[in-house]
Amino acid sequence: MSYTLRGRFESRLAALLPLLLGCCVLTAILHQWWPIELCALMGAVGLAFDLQAWRLLRYQPAWAMVPLGAVELGAMLAVVYGFGLQPPLWPALGLFGAGWLISVVLAQAGYPLLRLSYAEDGGELGRFGLVAAGAVALTLAGSGATYVAQLPPVVHLSTGVHQGPLVIRQREILQGAPGAVVKGGIVVAHDDVQIRDVTVIGGTNGISVDGYRNTVIDGVTVQGAKLDGIHVRLGGVIIRNCTVDMLGNPRGQGIDISFNMDLGMSMVEGCTIVGGQEGITTHYSMTDVMNNDISRTTGEAISVTEMSMGMASHNTVRDALGVALYCNDRSMCMFDHNTVIGTRPDVASGLRTRRGLALLVNFQSEGYLWQNRLVGNPVATSAVDNSILRRRSTPSW
């Protein structure tokens, strides 16, 4: 087949159309945008190759669809991972494969049956091509409009002190102005809530999420909570760039994420936590704890416990009492590239397991270590009570 550039565009866009409709259905079912993102990306990558490379091919035999498809797949994956889109790999490959197969079948059989002069016209589809291109554009525009329409409303919290507790009962972005303070805590009582740039003072918990999904807490400061700084139960959460001050609270947790194993991954990233019994703790949870700075805790600085499965990497822990990094109770933990400095022995407890360990793996847990810096700690690592401690870059799971 000797394609014209227009023929390549029209054939590609017409083949993209059924896939795009499938992606729309998939997006509606999954409530996730990656299928449409991937479809749009497939189209964009293909059109870019058509414009820059494939149009130089005077003749394209049928077998060339295999290497050309492989090149486009490679480029698409590079863009996907380069921009951090990260759709699930196998479904994404399946989607690409389906798209490729549709285009092959249409190019070899469908279009020639649909349009008598398809081959002579160099792949151009006439009015149908224009309609298909328009339909693709409309579908993508519609998807974009839907995405924008579904964005939660932004509620601005003005500068100054607002008396709480503040209960959020709708999908929204609570955007704090500089100097916006809530006294008495914030309670998240709806899915898809985002809290940004707010200072929370006091409250039973500084911020509480109990049973709601897709919460994003970004750039908040929490001080003086009676129990936990950020308290998450049965909900998926992303916590970024927070500051939690728990000094003077010997029993509270800086961040406690628990019982959300079946709700997918949660994440705590870029937070600074001072004081409290535990800095960051997860119970029965899959949470990644990355790039946090934790100091002066009285229990454990980072605790992955109660059948949790988690990764703690690139964190810095200073001046923890008893234990800095803790993997406990049949949990599976990966600790890599962490820095632990100056853990102090908890002499008052009288426990051997709190004698100033940088890392402790306890009670039938699996701990994996890789390139951690453990400096000035009385005991570097220990695995007790049928636990396993291995040094390797990738965990077993």
Binding site: M1, S2, Y3, T4, G7, R58, Y59, P61, A62, W63, Q108, A109, P112, L113, L116, S117, Y118, A119, E120, D121, G122, G123, E124
Partner: protein
């Protein structure tokens, strides 16, 4: 309309259907069509305007065009004028003469209006092997001549070809108001699929008793000179060598090696758009370049020639010399002036020409005689001005597709 034309008292019997052999059906149709064609018109009556579509020429180009037209017209709405009911009657003889076993064309070298499904699919069923499909993916599949002939026969049976056929040679096409007069019958849209005007024989060899054209039935003598360098010549070299002859190849220029008659991009708008933009002089030069003789690359050709050359049984010379037999694989007469109908058409309507080419629109229509109310288009060899590989099946389809598109959008259709 064809039925009414054939409705006199001495009308020959309807052709046998069902299990009748192709030969018998062919003969029956021929008798019926000749009868209707020769029936004298009542004196003083005006020529009848059928208001439909006619194809002049019942060879492969006409047959291929007919298959396309059948997408939009019933058999009784199309009239095909020709001298033989069998669309491959001439081609079959020529292929047999050069002992051609495989088509040069690939899977889509068929007479169906769409390129899919190609002949590879029917070969899969016939050969009970997926090999044809795999070969077609890498452009290595070539249907056998037998497969192609069977395909034509199947299409002929199911397309209504014989219903549309008028066995009569059209001598003159004349433009009239709203259409064209074909020897007394009027049609709104006419496609000329006249085929090659005749076999080309070098002047210096005319009258030589040793000479035979490659497309005429022949055996091989002990020493054979093959004049020419295209696919027919290459086929003759190989076949004559296989028959034990000593072969001399006489050629004016070295043949090109390419899979198809012209580079592949000239089969689509990719190459045609630039070709159509060429000014006349350059287009003529391009057509001359593309007419350079060629045959496909491959060991199938090279190995027997190399082996024979090693044995001293194959060589290239400048003249036939003393061979016992001279085979002219020199193709066909070229140019519209060799065709009486085209010559007359051009002369009577002062149509534009360039050297030996009839000037056509890019859609193969004759520009001076085609407008919104009528169409005169050309398919096959004389349509090279619009499609360089016009004398191929792809060329016939190109002209047919555009003819159909044109008449489908005609406001008075």
């Amino acid at each position: 309309m064809l039925a009414s034309l054939a409705g006199s008292t001495s009308r020959p019997a309807e052709p046998a259907s069902g299990t009748a052999s192709p030969r018998r059906r062919h003969d029956a149709f021929r008798a019926r069509a000749e009868h209707s064609a020769l029936r004298p018109r009542a004196p003083g009556t005006a020529p009848e305007t059928r208001g439909r579509v006619a194809i002049v020429g019942s060879g492969l180009a006409g047959f291929t065009a007919y298959q396309t037209l059948r997408r939009a017209f019933a058999p009784e709405e199309i009239a095909v004028f020709g001298t033989d009911a069998d669309p491959v009657a001439t081609w079959r003889v020529r292929a047999a003469a050069i002992r051609q076993r495989e088509m040069r064309s690939e899977s889509d070298g068929h007479c169906l209006p769409t390129s899919f499904p190609g002949l590879a699919f029917s070969s899969v069923r016939r050969r009970r092997s997926l090999r044809p499909l795999l070969e077609t993916v890498v452009d290595r599949y070539h249907p056998t001549v037998d497969e192609f002939l069977a395909h034509v026969e199947r299409l002929r049976e199911r397309s209504g070809w014989d219903e549309s056929l008028v066995l009569r040679r059209v001598e003159r096409v004349r433009a009239v108001d709203g259409g064209f007069d074909l020897d007394g019958e009027r049609f709104q849209h006419v496609l000329l699929a006249l085929g090659h005007p005749g076999l080309n024989m070098p002047e210096e060899l005319r009258g030589d008793p040793r000479v035979v054209h490659s497309y005429e039935p022949h055996d091989y003598a002990g020493t054979v000179t093959v004049v020419g360098a295209g696919l027919a010549a290459a086929t003759e070299w190989v076949n004559a060598l296989a028959a034990g002859a000593e072969v001399v190849s006489v050629r004016r220029r070295e043949p090109l090696r390419r899979p198809l008659n012209v580079p592949r991009h000239y089969f689509s708008r990719r190459g045609l758009a630039a070709f159509h933009r060429l000014p006349p002089r350059e287009r003529i030069e391009r057509l001359r370049t593309l007419s350079t003789p060629s045959y496909p690359p491959g060991a199938k050709w090279d190995e027997p020639l190399a082996r024979a050359a090693g044995e001293g049984r194959f060589r290239v010379e400048q003249s036939p010399n003393g061979s016992a037999q001279v085979i002219c694989a020199t193709g066909f007469l070229r140019g519209f002036r060799h065709d009486p109908l085209l010559t007359r058409l051009v002369a009577e309507h002062e149509l534009e020409t360039e050297e030996r080419w009839l000037v056509l629109d890019s859609d193969s229509a004759v520009p001076a005689l085609s407008d919104e109310s009528r169409t005169l288009a050309v398919a096959g060899a004389p349509a090279q001005w619009a499609f360089p590989a016009a004398d191929t099946l792809a060329g016939a389809k190109y002209a047919a597709h555009r003819f159909l598109r044109r008449i489908s959008t005609c406001r008075t259709r």
